[in-house]
Symmetry: D3
Subunit: 135 residues, 6 copies
Amino acid sequence: MSGSGSGEGEADRVASFNAFRSRMNDRILAEDNQVIRRFFSLDTQTYRAGALDVKTKELLGLVASMVLRCDDCIAYHVSQCREVGVNRDEFFEAFSVALVVGGSIVIPHLRRAVDFLDKLESASSAAPGAPHSHD
Amino acid sequence: MSGSGSGEGEADRVASFNAFRSRMNDRILAEDNQVIRRFFSLDTQTYRAGALDVKTKELLGLVASMVLRCDDCIAYHVSQCREVGVNRDEFFEAFSVALVVGGSIVIPHLRRAVDFLDKLESASSAAPGAPHSHD
Amino acid sequence: MSGSGSGEGEADRVASFNAFRSRMNDRILAEDNQVIRRFFSLDTQTYRAGALDVKTKELLGLVASMVLRCDDCIAYHVSQCREVGVNRDEFFEAFSVALVVGGSIVIPHLRRAVDFLDKLESASSAAPGAPHSHD
Amino acid sequence: MSGSGSGEGEADRVASFNAFRSRMNDRILAEDNQVIRRFFSLDTQTYRAGALDVKTKELLGLVASMVLRCDDCIAYHVSQCREVGVNRDEFFEAFSVALVVGGSIVIPHLRRAVDFLDKLESASSAAPGAPHSHD
Amino acid sequence: MSGSGSGEGEADRVASFNAFRSRMNDRILAEDNQVIRRFFSLDTQTYRAGALDVKTKELLGLVASMVLRCDDCIAYHVSQCREVGVNRDEFFEAFSVALVVGGSIVIPHLRRAVDFLDKLESASSAAPGAPHSHD
Amino acid sequence: MSGSGSGEGEADRVASFNAFRSRMNDRILAEDNQVIRRFFSLDTQTYRAGALDVKTKELLGLVASMVLRCDDCIAYHVSQCREVGVNRDEFFEAFSVALVVGGSIVIPHLRRAVDFLDKLESASSAAPGAPHSHD
């Protein structure tokens, strides 16, 4: 629980993030630019299971996003990590690697990452029966 | 068209960005700091036509801003590029260079760049007769 | 004075920044992660007086935050610098170093730094008797 | 002319850079990793003529590399720009955009960029008949 | 095998990297600066097994170092990853995440990472009986 | 003392850094590019005494260079700081701020900064009578 907000309010904020992301991805992919389309497709392929499993790869994406300090990328990978079963202790250990590698400049992004994780958790507990699934 | 918003609402958002930018520039230049004033003047001089034309230089500024991931700088150069006649296909090719050089971490900024470009276009189509001119 | 806002409104915006910062720090430190806790403690220790005085160290933190372009870190160090007596001319000289080292990409963060400084000043002038103290 | 070096010595240094680049690219592409292979192919596709011509795209790649401060990427794009006819004045205008956007932190990379450009020029003048061609 | 070099030559280059690293760490820790000493100690603690195992944490450190483009950090984590059993396919999948997140600007660092990995492998195959151990 | 090297050898390495820097600055300023020339002049002006003294400004330049991880900029500001009397304890406190703000990714640059400082000190002790002066 992130304090003041109700579960529904939190879910709304997560939903609004996802809606913008989804709407603009559609706009971008509607353009006739093959390099950008191929990049988006490659980006998806990158996190598929291979020699490393999906969970490890999503954690790699999360820590890379944190040290590069991109809030949207962090939110996306926090969400993906949660889907594939990363638990709270594992999240904070991944956060700790990003914090030590990237320094105190990472702290504001860490705050927002934890806030987003809190929102995801309170959204899913407000919607029992569909805890963290894409369906 | 950016979907939900009316032309007027889009114009407002662009106007609000420009108003803050303009108000704070005035605040900064009102200070008695010659280094900062000279930097601002140099920044303006940088994009004047020379061996390279203004359009090329504005595209350079745009791609530099995208790989450095600064939304305000991106918005500013998207706006300037539009003034000097960069068309949508050219924008997306410049975006594609920034995306490939800078990686997926650029994607959230690409989304906001396209959103801003959409807003500029819908604002100018809502104000026919003054499509995208400084005059 | 930052133009449109009343002193109370400005104070609110500063207060809201501090409230989120404080709430999320509590969330983070409540976790059982010793690396993160030790990092936060080390971060505090870094700015204590030693061979260099607190004012110099806070200015170092401010310029580091500006060239790394982190608005929250900038706001935090602007606030700390003000507490330890950095005056407006000194602020702008520190800003000028950050601007020249970091380039025009720093300008949007400079605008927000000056806006935040304006808000701090108008908040403290709206609350005479407690100008800028932690007590 | 870069001062002390003979044309042959300069050519050697450029050749050594290209040899390492080429040898390691072969090593990397020999691996059975489709994401990396697709990325390399996409990288090549990015600079092909489209809505923007090759010269503009190579200049975009050069300035992006300079503000991100990657000497090898800078050397590569300086070399490519020269192949497609960017002249010395155009190079320095592109450099000036990178310098103003990226700040004084770019200066050491600017020095090495100019040194590399000097070497390319003295290498090609030492090999008349094949001034700056891939054939 | 990295091509031209003998096993002994490669081992020397790795040894020279380690010798400078070790000598300068001693210099730094000999200073009476508690913040720096505590940071070094925290850095070591970060990669210890906890909710995540050492291998995952070293991979996180590797990918963070690659997207931040620090060759020495990359070399260090490549070496650590190898110690804890990361195999070549796993290395290249981690590299692929760094490449897609960080973009083509990562490529020169990828080349040097692969070169360093090649050197480690050829050094250890030149010294059978102690393949890749700290003892 | 940096261990193995003689005073003369260390002085040579510092001299070689300065010689390249000086030679390339001359090359760059010989070009007819006013933006670049004005930037170089502005860069010099930035560190002149004003509301903040030269020592504080050079320390700001040093820490900015460290968190942005530019070895040449670090070497330059270490050298300048030494000229204006920054002592070893003050250097390490400035380093500690850069390390905590910028994270472990700064460590390789810290090693080279300390190595360069050692070289400067052993060079000046090998040339008594002219300890650290520009004349």
